[in-house]
Amino acid sequence: MPSLRHSCTAAALAAGISLFSFQAFAEPAGVLRVAVGADPATFDPAFNDLPVGNAVDLAVLEGLFRLDPQNNVQKTLATDSSFSPDGKIFTVKIKTGKTFSNGDPLNAEAVAASFNRMLDEKTGSIYRGLYASLGTVKAVGEDTVEFHMAEPNGHVLMLLASTAASIVDVKAVQRMGAEYGRKPVGSGPYMVERFVGGEGFRLVPNPRYAGDYPATLKAIEFSVVPEDGSRMALMETGAADIVERVPPESIDAINALQDAKVVTPPSMFSINMEMVLRGPLADPRVRKALNMAVDRDGITKGVLGGLGTPSVGMVGPGTQDELRKTFPPIAFDPEGAKKLLAEAGYKPGQLSLSFTCPTGRYIKDVQVCQALAGSFENIGIKATPLVVDRGTWSNVIGMEPDQRKDNMGMVGRATAGMDYTLYRLFYTGVGANRTGYSNPRVDALLKEGRATTDPAKQKQIYGEVQEIIWKDQPFLFLWYQTQAIGVSNRVQGFAVQPNETLVFDKVTVK
């Protein structure tokens, strides 16, 4: 049996290869130079929390599944997967004969070890909670991995397709310790050749790679330049082929270059002012008035320079689009907002609200904060924007609703799926529900949705949840961010995922 399956896999593989035969058999050529704004601390998927780390993990490691640029789940190491009838055991068949870049075998045992490492409390992974529902992971033979689920979860594929679930070589982790975070050993098409903290890192092809996305580049050189102006200067001087996070004001300058342009793929980052549902904001009329007071079109064009699309639902595009439901945009209607406020019993100038914004975390966050304050002032609310540093912001955002002194906080959410996002934010009493939102119907639906494996059923459940949330407006819905990436004309085949991960699978340089 195994041999038969093996040959099938090989055939599939061969088919895959023939599809991409040009790239597959072409020698890796050219050096791609990428300038990124964030300084990755580690590539260890158990700790990485930056899109640039995701990009490296995607190139250096492999997961059981992965997301394509459209956020659809694809098989990588996995060849097949199925739930047991009671939904308690999730079985994945994997490719055999694979090795990590250091030659260690990548078999079912290695896959199980990788998951169990992340789930081990002693590891201290920041994703342990997210993956806690996977329970314990066991290897059965060479090619089968069993997840003994802690609770039923119909979204396990979404979880496993995230780069956080990439398979690490646990033996290498034990040997290398923290250094593993710099030069992770995986089975992806590339490996990290050099990493200089804060300066940059360099990926080179992994000679042991066997898979669908063989390396096309001789090297990918990343340089870390946090200052926007300096990073753009790299693009303008031709010292970089790809620059991440082009600020709106530089888009024209880069488009004006002869040999580069800015691409603006959508991002799943959904930016909202998350309300604390106490005091005045417990009143749905006030929440509605706030939502009507904001000129989303004006701000996204004027302040964000076009790098935003007004929200048409809480969940951003690319977050499991098959389950996502959108609604007509909220109309900008300050007069209507004033009326609603009057109905709620507030005369102009009577209502005071404060809200917390981070600096430099989201596109033009400080300016947006001021623009929002202006919008609220326009409908007769005394608005105080509190622009705080990252540490304070994360403190405020992480507080229990009854400890909060402000009324709203600006948060961007980009998450690993519908269940994760909605359950964490809106299920009554869940630790991450910082608005204090509570709706028995939503609770019931979320619970049901989590356990359901049937896509049609999921679509119906989550559609209803999204609709209730959109109507209840526990958030001041703002917009979805748009990514802006400067790409030189010599780069071809470059793609970006909605979660802002750069994908180098098919990139070639002229």
Binding site: D228, G229, M232, P247, E249, S250, D252, A253, D295, G298, I299, K301, G302, V303, T359, G360, K364, V366, Q367, C369, Q370, A371, A373, G374, P385, L386, V387, V388, D389, G391, T392
Partner: protein, 656 residues
């Protein structure tokens, strides 16, 4: 501004050439600041900025907070002089409104630093002991936290708003104030008059209030002004790191920080707040520099010597006359003819030496006597070719040393002349020796100059020179530094250096006035001996008439830049004919018992340079004047009367 004026009232009177009447002292500081181009520009700018801070919000043509998403990032236009920002607000109005917060941070930050730092510094200096040790250690600890991180942490802990930014940048500057206040207080407390007050039982608080506070006020005012600028810049650094003032209130540093990524695409956005910010830092720096020049004793010379842009105004002095006629030159070691000299000041040239004729033959000692400010030291420096051409101009006349003209020489010829023919002994031996070089090095330099002796020969010559000036154990002394010698020993060393090249002329500028009486005697005896054994000509400048009769052959009495009477010591001192010389002798009746008495008992004050009266300069103090019109008419020329030269129209009255 108000600070500056308050300080002006308390400013200690400072010794300067241009003394201002006490009633006008209140405005002294202001005038002295304005007198410097730096100060004038700085003060005007600072006043303008402060006006902007007060009136800015009223002047703003548009609502600085009004957003307009249809009008974002517009370039400068008639409607928006500085363009509009990311939220469509008028940048010009925001800059005007932002003046208050920006300057407020500067003033507030400095105030915080001042109010914490100065009392701590004074306390440390006053209490000494463990209080000082503890405070200074605490300041060390503060200094070891990096500035920006410290400020960052303060803002992060307290929350980002204008008030906390002020606290943060203020606290960061505390060590500077504390250290300065301590250092200055320590030096003031060491002054004899303070020790005197303490000895008289004055309470510490009183001493600090009465003596210390006014004396450190100037330094601290200067420091405050200079720190103001750096405080603004650190606040702007916080703005850069996203921890500036809270939006939407404008502040230049934050505006600049926020718009920095627009430098390429919308340059005006960063340029205007940047220019205003840099301009305000510049204004306070200029003012601070001007204050520093006034208060910092170490830079006081600069103020007199180096006004900014002075080169635009400097009048060229008349070139000095040509070579001396040969016959007088070859006989005299020093020959000065119709020499006129003037100080260079901002207001032009001020005459200080006004037509002096002087001659010293080899082997003779000429004593040049006169009150302070009579121009005698200036004359000595001119003869020694050491007059600083940037301070003093030789406007007319001639100087000859050993038959050579000392004026209009090339740099090489001048060095040669100095080396071969001139030795100089200064008033203060302590400052005449370089404190950071050994005696041996300084002597060797003098010996080696212009001749090719080997090291051993140089050393032997140094030892011989020290022996000549009666310094015991010369071999060991060569390796010592000036501060390891007593005053008298230092003066001997200075003399040894002066003698190193066997000069023909020895110039001694009050060589003993800094020494105590017994040492004075020894030094003068030594000088006299050396002069006689080597047959040198010596010019001895002194205001002590009692020394003259015993150590000089000839004497020249100088008053207001002119020689009023000169001749042999015996003749002149026996019966002075000029009323000033007479008064001088009367005030110092001679004899060992009154040696060292200053010549202060002549009625009236000597005239200031540049304020000489018409006619005879001694006229206002002269007992012979009695309103005689002749005295006011013209400056009397020296005439030969009774074996000497006298410049008095009524000199004959002295004979009767």
């Amino acid at each position: 501004m108000s600070l500056a004026q308050d300080m002006a009232t308390d400013a200690p009177p400072l010794a300067t050439r241009v003394v201002v009447a006490p009633s006008r002292r209140r405005w002294t500081l202001l005038r002295r600041v304005l007198a410097q181009p730096k100060g004038a520009i700085g003060l005007i700018l600072v006043v303008l900025y402060l006006l902007l801070a007060i009136l800015g919000p009223m002047l703003a043509p548009q609502d600085a907070f009004r957003q307009n998403f249809a009008q974002t990032l517009r370039p400068p236009s008639a409607a928006h002089w500085f363009g509009t920002d990311q939220l469509g607000r008028d940048v010009f109005s925001r800059v005007l409104v932002g003046a208050r917060a920006t300057l407020g941070i500067g003033v507030g930050g400095v105030a915080v630093a001042f109010l914490i730092g100065v009392p701590l510094g004074i306390l440390a200096a006053w209490r000494r002991g463990w209080v000082e040790a503890l405070l200074m250690r605490a300041i060390d600890i503060m200094l070891s936290f990096p500035d920006i991180v410290f400020a960052l942490a303060v803002v992060a802990i307290l929350g980002a708003n204008t008030q906390n930014v002020i606290i943060a940048v203020g606290v960061v500057a505390v060590p500077v104030f504390a250290r300065t206040a301590r250092a200055v207080t320590l030096s003031i407390l060491a002054e004899p008059y303070i020790e005197g007050s303490a000895a008289l039982g004055a309470s510490p608080a009183r001493i600090i209030l009465r003596h210390v506070q006014p004396n450190i006020a100037g330094t601290l005012l200067t420091l405050s002004t200079l720190l103001f600028a750096s405080t603004l810049l650190s606040a702007s650094g916080l703005g850069f790191l996203g921890l500036g003032t809270q939006p939407p209130y404008p502040e230049w540093g934050t505006m600049l920080g926020e718009s920095r990524s627009y430098i390429r695409s919308h340059p005006y956005l960063a340029t205007f707040p940047g220019l205003f910010l840099a301009g305000s830092a510049l204004a306070f720096n200029l003012l601070g520099e001007a204050l520093r020049v006034i208060y910092d004793p170490t830079s006081r010379r600069t103020s007199r010597r180096a006004p900014l842009f002075a080169f635009l105004r400097r009048r060229s002095a008349k070139p000095p006359a040509g070579p001396l006629d040969a016959d007088s030159a070859d006989r005299n070691a020093v020959s000065v003819k119709a020499l006129r000299m003037a100080f260079r000041t901002r207001d032009g040239l001020l005459d200080v030496v006004r037509g002096v004729d002087l001659a010293i033959r080899p082997g003779r000692t000429l004593a040049l006597v006169g009150e302070s400010g009579s121009g005698k030291s200036t004359l000595l420096r001119a003869i020694g070719t050491l007059a600083n051409p940037q301070e003093v101009a030789i406007t007319d006349g001639a100087i000859g040393i050993g038959g050579e003209s000392a004026l209009g020489l090339s740099a090489v010829a001048l060095r040669e002349l100095r080396r071969r023919k001139i030795g100089v002994v200064f008033q203060d031996a302590a400052s005449a020796l370089n404190p950071v070089l050994t005696i041996g090095a300084q002597l060797a330099e003098a010996v080696r100059a212009g001749c090719g002796l080997d090291d051993e020969a140089v050393r032997q010559r140094c030892i011989d020179l020290l022996k000549d000036v009666r310094i015991a154990d010369p071999e060991r002394r060569l390796a010592m530094y000036p501060h390891q010698f007593s005053g008298g020993m230092k003066q001997r060393i200075v003399i040894a250096i002066a003698l190193a090249q066997d000069p023909q002329v020895l110039l001694a500028d009050e060589p003993t006035s800094a020494l105590d009486v017994t040492i004075q005697q020894q030094i003068l005896v030594l000088l006299r001996e050396i002069q006689e054994t080597r047959g040198m000509a010596m010019l001895l400048v002194t205001h002590d008439l009692s020394l003259v009769s015993r150590f000089a052959d000839d004497v020249a009495v100088m008053y207001a830049g002119r020689i009023v009477e000169s001749g042999e010591v015996a003749t002149v001192l026996e019966r002075p004919l000029h009323p000033y010389a007479l008064a001088l002798r009367a005030s110092a009746p001679g004899g060992a018992e009154s040696r060292g008495q200053p010549l202060r008992s002549i009625p009236g004050e000597p005239p200031l340079v540049g304020e000489f009266p018409d006619g005879c300069a001694f006229r206002p103090r002269c007992p012979r004047n009695q309103g005689r019109p002749e005295c006011a008419e013209c400056e009397p020329e020296p005439r030969a009367i009774a074996g000497r030269q006298v410049a008095c129209l009524f000199a004959e009255e002295g004979l009767s």
